[in-house]
């Protein structure tokens, strides 16, 4: 399927990717009572925070170790310790998720070692869970930072179960959603799991922290997320499901901790993909039938596929997204007869790129999207909000997907997973096509226009 292309050039024009520490911070925000802490200069945090504030339209409690040139040379351990102490004083977080940046990784800080020392010397930090992930900006993108943070959370907070005396919660299942899944999508996945009488534990859970709700008080921490005391019990779940290939490593680690089966669902968009997930849920629940509501949702998706295929069949589109999201949307569209004439993605780390239904997948920027869409004759663009420049340049509609979506409201409510979400996605694509109203003209077919002598002399009627 897709051949991975890495353009040999020095310049990135209109970057597609957001940085890995930002992804880690976003994952940390899906934990109860959390404050993410970026270990770097204060600008690293300010930019990431502005990015998230604009996307979610929420206050984002993100903090920095405020490295300066002296602490960069001498090592940042003291800065981390001081930051934790200050955070405890001011926001009393239950969880501090630390992520490194290009600055501290280039200077070579041994943050894991520093943290160990800090814990040993500061017993007053015992009441806050400290988790650290190494996420230099120069390696990978948002998706990778998110995945590394979740792996770090599992590593730090889920205990190793004893293989022989393992207690299993028969109805409990771990779900590790990838970075691209919106709060509404996380909620939809949880709803599907519950429909089969199973209890999902979502890690992380943005559906309760960044879903956009009006709280009764100001906390200075995440407004919801996976409850901290539930995370250790994930070792007793019956199975671990990763949603998105980027979560495979975290899922494998979690499976090892609890000696439980692990399955990676690379996507939950498209009938086949959702069917696979539902079959797995049925197997886990030990049932051979599905609830009526789910059956009805599937039948409605089938109906939507019939209605939408007139508009998706033969559709040529260009997509720029992180690997997991690009895979999810493009496979769903491929199954509806659409063709990805250009695929640009952010990080070569995810093996799912090989399976993206396009000739090539370029690790590139929005400049590549513009060139590829133009060359391939695309009529629809799929990208995050910055794709609007390409859309304007090419005069094409833009379907906004990914991060950031800072020029529209409701990014957290977009749901393109499950039977219902797929149905909504197909309508979204078909409507984008339908919105380009096209008036046929004789010239377009090579016919001569009608002779002016036949035209009435009066005022022209405005075409509608």
């Amino acid at each position: 399927m897709a051949r991975l292309i890495r353009p040999r050039r020095a310049l990135s024009t209109n970057p597609l990717k957001s940085s890995a520490p930002l992804g880690a911070a976003m994952a940390y925000l899906g934990i109860e009572g959390a404050v993410p802490l970026l270990h770097g200069a204060q600008g690293c945090t300010a930019f990431a925070m502005v990015h998230m504030v604009r996307h979610f339209r929420e206050a984002i409690p993100l903090q920095t170790t405020a490295m300066n040139e002296v602490s960069t040379i001498l090592g940042g351990a003291d800065q981390i310790e001081e930051a934790i102490a200050n955070l405890k004083k001011k926001a009393a977080p239950k969880f501090i998720g630390i992520a490194s940046t290009a600055l501290t990784e280039t200077s070579g800080d041994d943050i894991a070692g520093d943290l160990q020392d800090i814990r040993a010397r500061r017993p007053d930090f015992d009441d806050v869970r400290l988790v650290y992930a190494s996420t230099p900006d120069f390696e990978g993108a948002l998706e990778d930072g998110w995945a590394k943070a979740v792996t770090a959370i599992v590593d730090a907070l889920v205990p190793q179960a004893e293989p022989c005396r393992r207690e299993v919660e028969q109805h409990q299942v771990n779900i590790l959603p990838a970075a691209y899944l919106t709060p509404a999508e996380v909620e939809e996945i949880a709803r599907l799991v519950r429909a089969f009488g199973l209890t999902p534990i979502m890690l992380p859970d943005l559906s309760t922290s960044l879903d956009g709700h009006l709280a009764e008080d100001w906390s200075g921490r995440s407004l919801g997320g996976t409850p901290l005391d539930i995370i250790p019990t994930m070792a007793r779940s019956k199975a671990t499901f990763a949603i998105g290939e980027s979560m495979a490593e975290a899922a494998t680690l979690l499976g090892d901790r609890g000696h439980m089966p692990v399955r990676v669902f690379p996507a939950l968009t498209g009938l086949t993909a959702v069917d696979a997930f539902v079959s797995a849920l049925m197997g886990l629940a030990g049932v051979t039938d599905a609830p009526a509501a789910i059956k009805r949702e599937r039948a409605r998706l089938q109906d939507a596929m019939l209605d939408a295929h007139f508009h998706t069949g033969g559709l040529r589109y260009a997509i720029a997204a992180e690997p997991d999201l690009a895979y999810a949307l493009s496979t769903a569209l491929e199954s509806m007869g659409a063709e990805a004439v250009c695929c640009v993605t952010t990080s070569a780390a995810n093996p799912i790129i090989d399976l993206i239904p396009a000739d090539e997948a370029t690790v590139g920027d929005l400049g590549d999207l513009e060139a590829g869409a133009r060359a391939g004759g695309a009529t629809l663009l799929i990208a995050h909000a910055h794709g609007r420049h390409v859309a304007a340049a090419l005069g094409l509609p833009l379907l906004r997907a990914g991060f950031p979506i800072n020029d529209r409201l409701g990014a957290q409510d977009a749901c393109r997973v499950g039977y219902r979400g797929t149905r909504a996605f197909l309508f979204e694509v078909a409507n984008a096509v339908l919105a380009q109203s096209h008036q046929p003209r004789p010239e377009a077919f090579g016919a001569a226009p009608i002779s002016p002598e036949f035209e009435h002399d009066g005022p022209q009627i405005v075409p509608h």
Partner: protein, 518 residues
Amino acid sequence: MSGTLKRTVQDAFDEPACATNRAKSATARKAGCAKPLTPGAAAGGCAFDGAMITLQPIVDVAHLVHAPLACGGNSWDNRGSASSGSMLYKTGFTTDLTELDIVMGRGERKLYRAIGEIVEAHAPPAVFVYATCVTAMTGDDIVAVCKAAAQAFATPVIPVEVPGFAGSKNLGCKLAGEMMFRHVIGTREPAHTTDTDINIIGDYNLSGELWQVKPLLDRLGIRILGSLSADARYRQVAQMHRARVTMLVCSHALQGLARKLEETYDIPYFEGSFYGISDTSAALRSLCALLVKRGASADLLDRCEALIAEEEAKVRAALEPYRARVTGKRVLLYTGGHKTWSIVSALQELGVEVVGTSVRKATDNDKARVIQVMGTEAHMYENMAPRDMYATLKASGADILMSGARSQFVALKARTAWIDVNQEKHEPYAGYMGMVDLVRAIDRSVNNPMWAQLHRPAPWETTRPAAPGLGAAEGADGPGAPQANDCASGQDRLAPGEPADTANPADPADPASDFEDC
């Protein structure tokens, strides 16, 4: 930090034209005006951010960020400076350094090639190259690379050596001005000059604010020859040395540049603001007076007075219909400092009550003016933690918060109207016409019927449940539900017995500092 950068920083802080700096002792002056950042309690941008704020609005320049992804990738296309021409400044260029580039020391070569690729694809009048923490640390000599590239590609390539960890956003703004003085200003001669050519420094044409003022200048025959950097072309920076007068728009950060222009090229400068009616008039007066002093025809003063009289009468008439709608509304002003007081006095004229203002970046002079405008110093805030601000607003301490975007959600979550008055704002509020836009925005926001609905108790919170069997037939405004207006008056927002939330500790993030102009 390299020796040269260190000296540049020291110089930037020791600003003889700065009142705050002059008031300090020699040692305090040497220490500079940067406050050390507190880990875990810092907010706001870095020096690189500041440099970008100052320079990125130059619209036809290619701004190339030499860094791993985050510096450019997380920040491009995020400001509202408007352009009347080239859109190249909105394109995010970065060398996107990878681990291999850094480990193998390939940064300089990659930068050189990237400059070449930009010149080939876009042929800009200049390329600005921004150093960042990582490339400063790996020791990339961007000055040398820029010099070589400028020769090889026959295009000015300007090094902006302002890595983020050098300090705050404010320092970055200062240094950006210094870089322009060193490398750009004076490198081109204008095709012709007039005796009413001016420089405007420190305005960024956010949402087109410059254009709310430009019609006034147009009518007076005043030409904006040099600009840093509202709707600026590269040439307008390069030929700044030929202007007659510099207007420094409410910016302490770029004072050093204005002073250097005066010392080196004999261009006098004054500080002024285009926010509010009285300040706009004062700025026009100062501008014309200085121009006449420098040789412009003396009738400029009369034309200026006539214009002011006409425009002030027009704006007062335009504001009058809003008086009844905004009178008695209480505003909490939380911005970087001094630029909004003229707005305050205009709002007070309309009966708006200003219940407090921040004086975080204000000098003593500024504070004296607050007292003059507000009548008392009781309502000056040095710094307000988000949690305290939330508590104040929730306890109905104000009807409207006017601030930067960082505290937007503090206000909204406290169910209080919010007006954006910093650089992210989507509406321009400058000049006379901008004042009308601002009052319209206040009216539209604070008088929105949404607030009444928002404060309605939920069905399960009403004290008297509806009689059994009635249910929905009773209607939403039945006897069981209090009138919506009961809780929208601003007096009753706290339920009885619910304490105002003031006891909680402060929040780490300083709400205002991230989004301000420097």
